[in-house]
C-alpha cells in the first residue's frame, strides 16, 4: 500500500485542526501548525499532476464583509436597543366633518 505525502500531511492537518478547538494557547499553536501543514499538503499535491487550469487566489472581501455582519449581530445582542418611551400617537388631522350639501338640488 503506498501512501502519498499529501495524504500524510492531510491527516496531520486534520489532527491539528481538531486540536485547534482546545483552549488557547494550545489551540492557537495547533491552528498555526494546521495552517502550515495544510499549505504543505496543497503544495505537495500541486507538484504531482500537470496543471491544466491555475487556481486563482480568492478575494478576501466577501469574508471580511461576513465578519463585519457577525460583529454587528454581536453588538446588537450585547447592547440591545431599547424602545423609545411611548408618546402621544401622531395622527394626521382628520378632515372636517362632512357638511350638508349647501346647494341641494331643487
Amino acid at each position: 500500500m503506498s501512501v502519498s505525502i499529501g495524504e500524510v500531511l492531510d491527516s496531520l492537518a486534520q489532527v491539528a485542526t481538531a486540536a485547534s478547538a482546545l483552549p488557547a494557547p494550545i489551540g492557537l499553536v495547533a491552528r498555526i501548525i494546521g495552517a502550515a501543514l495544510s499549505a504543505a499538503s496543497a503544495i505537495a499535491k500541486a507538484g504531482q499532476d500537470p496543471v491544466v487550469e491555475i487556481e486563482r487566489i480568492l478575494s478576501a472581501d466577501p469574508l471580511v464583509q461576513k465578519v463585519h455582519a457577525e460583529w454587528a449581530d454581536l453588538i446588537a445582542k450585547k447592547f440591545p436597543k431599547t424602545d423609545p418611551a411611548p408618546s402621544a400617537p401622531q395622527t394626521l388631522p382628520s378632515p372636517p366633518p362632512a357638511r350638508d350639501d349647501p346647494y341641494p338640488d331643487d
Binding site: 495552517a35 499549505a39 503544495i43 499535491k45 487566489i57 454581536l74
Partner: protein, 139 residues
C-alpha cells in the same frame, strides 16, 4: 556503433519528451502559491474575527464597541489591501502563463505583491512561505 548512435538519439529524444515544459513548471508554481494562499486566508479571517470579537466583549457600550472595532479595522486594512494586490498580480501572472506569454514582468510584479503582503502580515500568525519566494529586507 550505429546501434549506439540510435540508442543515444532515442534516449535524448526520450529525455526531451520527459523534460517538463517551462510553462508547466510556472503553472505548478502559480498553483502552489494560490493553494497556499487560499489555505491561509481562513486563518487570517479567523484571527481578524477573534480580535474584533474580543474587543466587543471588552466594550462597555455600543459606541465603545464601535470605536474599538475601528482600531481593529485600521490595523487590518493594510493586510486586506496587500492581499488584493497579491490576488490581482497572481491572476495576471496566471493568465499570462495560460496564454504562454512573456511571464517575467508579471512574475516580478507578483513577487513585489507577495513581499508587500509579508511586510504587513499580522505578527499573531506565522507566515507561510510560498514556493521559495524570497523577499529582501522587510520593513
Amino acid at each position: 556503433m550505429r546501434f549506439v548512435k540510435y540508442a543515444f538519439l532515442f534516449f535524448f529524444l526520450f529525455f526531451l519528451a520527459g523534460c517538463p515544459d517551462p510553462y508547466q513548471i510556472q503553472a505548478q508554481t502559480a498553483n502552489s502559491i494560490s493553494l497556499a494562499a487560499n489555505t491561509s486566508l481562513p486563518i487570517l479571517i479567523e484571527e481578524f474575527k477573534q480580535q474584533g470579537t474580543h474587543e466587543i466583549n471588552l466594550s462597555k457600550n455600543e459606541n465603545d464597541a464601535v470605536n474599538r472595532l475601528v482600531v481593529i479595522e485600521k490595523k487590518w486594512q493594510p493586510v486586506w489591501k496587500a492581499w488584493e494586490t497579491l490576488r490581482v498580480a497572481h491572476n495576471a501572472w496566471a493568465s499570462i502563463i495560460e496564454g504562454k506569454g512573456d511571464t517575467i514582468a508579471s512574475f516580478l510584479a507578483l513577487k513585489d505583491a507577495f513581499c508587500g503582503l509579508m511586510n504587513v502580515w499580522p505578527a499573531e500568525i506565522r507566515a507561510i512561505p510560498m514556493s521559495g519566494i524570497v523577499c529582501g529586507v522587510s520593513k
